[in-house]
């Protein structure tokens, strides 16, 4: 029993990353209608920035956790203004290709500078040990990742449901034209939302640095599953992507244990089944994408 619980816990830790990344993708898709293929690159850049900060400037993990998302959020906004913005009115395929290109450029820039080998990043001092969770002992850092990911997801949910900004974003997500007709300047919020989405990706990147391999390919490896997560949750659905993130994480961990041969395809099988059953995903509404 304790084994099973422990494996579920592993899944939740993986799910923490899926949820944070899917959340960012969902907000961006909702607001801009852009499937941001560069999302994985921002995750990778987040981890790399943490590494560069520590290596070259002695920036500790805790500072990086706040500063890196801010900086990369700004970079995201610049990219939105300079590039993505220009293609928003065209067929979505154009931005799909653009962001895919941006992803390749960012990835190869890092490859050029740092090679493909992973870079070292230590677990922050206070979290190096293990904690007793009653049934079992677990690495403190991974418990921290889970806790902070859940807090951020809840925080974003509160922001979106309880504040005026959130209401505008949700309104624009669901009925862009209607929101505009009500006198809200939707365009004003597009850039900050894109920045916010990339900041979330960067944030998960910093979180990943102490427990995962920091290398230019880390984002590309992960993003495929995250896209599946977003589709399962329902494109643009914020609650859906978070819940799907944690669920897929658990499913993978248990899949690893019981059906190892299937564990990689499991996510995509689930995705296919869900799309057959609910073409808009678990929490998606088809009319939302007018």
């Amino acid at each position: 029993m304790s084994d099973f619980v422990q494996q579920c816990f592993n899944g939740l830790v993986s799910g923490s990353f899926y949820a944070l990344l899917a959340l960012g993708l969902a907000v961006i898709f909702g607001m801009l209608g852009v499937v941001n293929f560069a999302h994985g690159s921002f995750y990778m850049l987040g981890a790399f920035s943490a590494y560069i900060g520590l290596e070259s400037f002695g920036v500790p993990f805790w500072v990086a956790l706040v500063a890196v998302p801010l900086l990369l959020g700004i970079l995201g906004m610049v990219i939105e203004r300079l590039l993505i913005h220009r293609l928003v009115d065209l067929d979505p395929l154009y931005n799909f290709l653009l962001t895919f290109g941006v992803a390749l450029v960012l990835q190869d820039l890092m490859k050029r500078t740092y090679g493909v080998q992973s870079q070292p990043y230590p677990v922050p001092g206070g979290l190096a040990g293990q904690v007793n969770l009653g049934l079992f002992r677990y690495p403190a850092y991974q418990v921290f990742v889970l806790a902070i990911s859940v807090s951020v997801c809840v925080g974003v949910w509160v922001l979106l449901t309880r504040t005026r900004v959130g209401m505008i974003v949700r309104g624009a997500t669901e009925r862009r034209d209607l929101t505009r007709a009500l006198g809200v300047n939707v365009g004003l919020w597009v850039t900050p939302v894109f920045g916010f989405g990339t900041a979330l990706a960067a944030f998960s990147g910093v979180l990943a640095a102490p427990m995962r391999a920091v290398n230019p390919l880390m984002g590309a490896d992960l993003i495929l599953v995250v896209f599946a997560v977003v589709v399962i949750g329902g494109l643009g659905s914020i609650v859906g992507s978070v819940l799907a993130g944690f669920t897929i994480g658990m499913l993978q961990a248990l899949g690893n244990l019981y059906v190892p041969a299937l564990s990689q395809t499991l996510v995509f099988i689930v995705m296919a089944v869900i799309l057959l059953w609910r073409p808009a995903g678990l929490f998606g509404r088809e009319e939302a994408r007018a």
Partner: protein, 420 residues
């Protein structure tokens, strides 16, 4: 082309007249001794993907060092007067490797292709080598199929293979008293090959594999397997990981966070390059044992070569770099002995040859299966406190002598190699 070939023949004839003994001992036939007037060494490897750092472009530099050494050693007496080094990126894909190999042999007139990491890609190149009757010295792929059912007259396997890794690490660690193993391996050809070889080596040394699990590839969360390791009965003494590159780094980071070493489960890695240790820092790996084909800080001879390599590339050599140097050098030496770059003559000059260079100690090129045998080393990662200089990460625990380091000829024959 024809005109050029004629011109080269004329040039060669002139050279033969002017320098009486150039390449003396070689067959002085009327046909040209060096095709196209030059010897072309082609390095085909991964220059942008996961193996780019451990071999990649710097292996091209290593091959250039070998060319310089050959030219310095023989000067005017060199059979290969003009040597060209070319390279191509196969992106670890067998289909690309196949096309590039064809292009290198046909268009670039490569006399030999070197390196080719990724077993599936190497097998494709071996097929091309056999078809084009041109040499292929496989330096960094791991599969024993190259000296088994895929072996052929023109293909040689140089630095290491899965049998050598399993024998070095699996057998030695088991003999040291760690009898109970839990193995995790990435679910693709290399991982499956390694799992099989390790299980065999462990069992033949009196050990026992409690469980062996395939893991997704790539994978960033290994906690499922790390927790399983602690719950297995009997409890494993060693976690044997066959992961490579980023996956290996992921696994080791999480192995340390789950404190498996403190619970009496040590870590043994199937295949590790010094670049892997460098990327995590020695402390993360401290105490981990693995088999190394070559270590730059092993002795003065290695250090001197490593310094030359560092001067050319700015980084320390992995065993793949040294092995590419050695393979290129031994190829050129064979051309020198044969007096020609004619593939069949060079193969004959290589078969059965014994030598000793900076990479390959007590080395021999087996005629029966084209396995190049040499001393290999059981290494242990030093704790950070013992590291005295950059890249000084390994302690050589044991030298495994050349005649026991590699798969016996009889087993290669049993695996389907029918050269001998």
């Amino acid at each position: 082309m024809l005109i050029r070939a004629k011109a080269t023949t004329a040039l060669l004839a002139a050279c033969g007249l002017a320098v009486g003994g150039c390449g003396g001992g070689g067959p002085q036939s009327s046909s040209e001794r060096i095709t196209n007037g030059k010897v072309v060494l082609a390095v085909l490897n991964d220059q942008s993907g996961v193996y780019a750092d451990l071999s990649g472009k710097n292996s091209v530099e290593a091959v250039k060092l070998a060319v310089a050494d050959y030219q310095k050693k023989y000067g005017d007496a060199a059979v290969a007067k003009t040597i060209e080094v070319v390279s191509a990126d196969h992106q670890n894909k067998p289909d690309i490797a196949n096309n590039k190999a064809q292009e290198l042999y046909d268009r670039q007139r490569a006399d030999v292709i070197l390196d080719v990491p990724t077993s599936s890609a190497a097998l494709a190149v071996a097929t091309q080598a056999a078809a084009k009757k041109r040499l292929f010295i496989a330096v960094s792929p791991a599969t024993t199929a190259l000296t088994g059912k895929a072996c052929n007259k023109y293909t040689f396997h140089y630095a290491y293979d899965t049998w050598m890794l399993a024998n070095g690490t699996g057998r030695t660690v088991t003999q040291q008293g760690a009898r109970e193993w839990y193995i995790v391996y990435p679910d693709y050809a290399f991982g499956q090959d390694m799992e099989k070889s390790f299980t065999q080596a462990i069992q033949s040394a009196g050990g026992h594999v409690i469980a062996a699990d395939p893991t997704p590839f790539p994978n960033d969360n290994f906690s499922t397997f790390l927790i399983k390791a602690t719950t297995l009965k009997p409890k494993p003494q060693v976690l044997g990981t066959m992961q490579a590159g980023g996956d290996l780094v992921n696994l080791v980071k999480q192995y340390n966070q789950f404190r498996l070493r403190e619970q009496g489960i040590t870590l043994s890695t199937g295949l590790m390059f010094i670049t892997d240790i460098h990327s995590l820092g020695p402390d993360a790996f401290a105490g981990t044992q693995f088999t190394d084909a070559w270590y730059w800080n092993f002795d003065e001879r290695n250090r001197q070569w490593a310094d030359r390599f560092t001067a050319a590339t700015g980084t320390r050599p992995s065993f793949a770099h040294a092995a590419n140097y050695s393979a290129a050098l031994q190829y050129l030496e064979a051309v020198q002995r044969a007096g020609t770059d004619d593939a069949d003559a060079v193969v004959t000059a290589m078969e059965g040859y014994t030598f000793d260079d900076v990479f390959a100690r007590h080395a021999a090129i087996r005629a029966a299966d084209h396995r190049v045998t040499h001393d290999v080393y059981l290494a242990e990662v030093k704790p950070k406190a013992d590291v005295t200089r950059d890249w000084d990460y390994e302690k050589i625990v044991q030298t495994i002598p050349a005649d026991r380091a590699f798969r016996p000829v009889a087993e290669s024959a049993a695996a389907g190699c029918t050269l001998g």
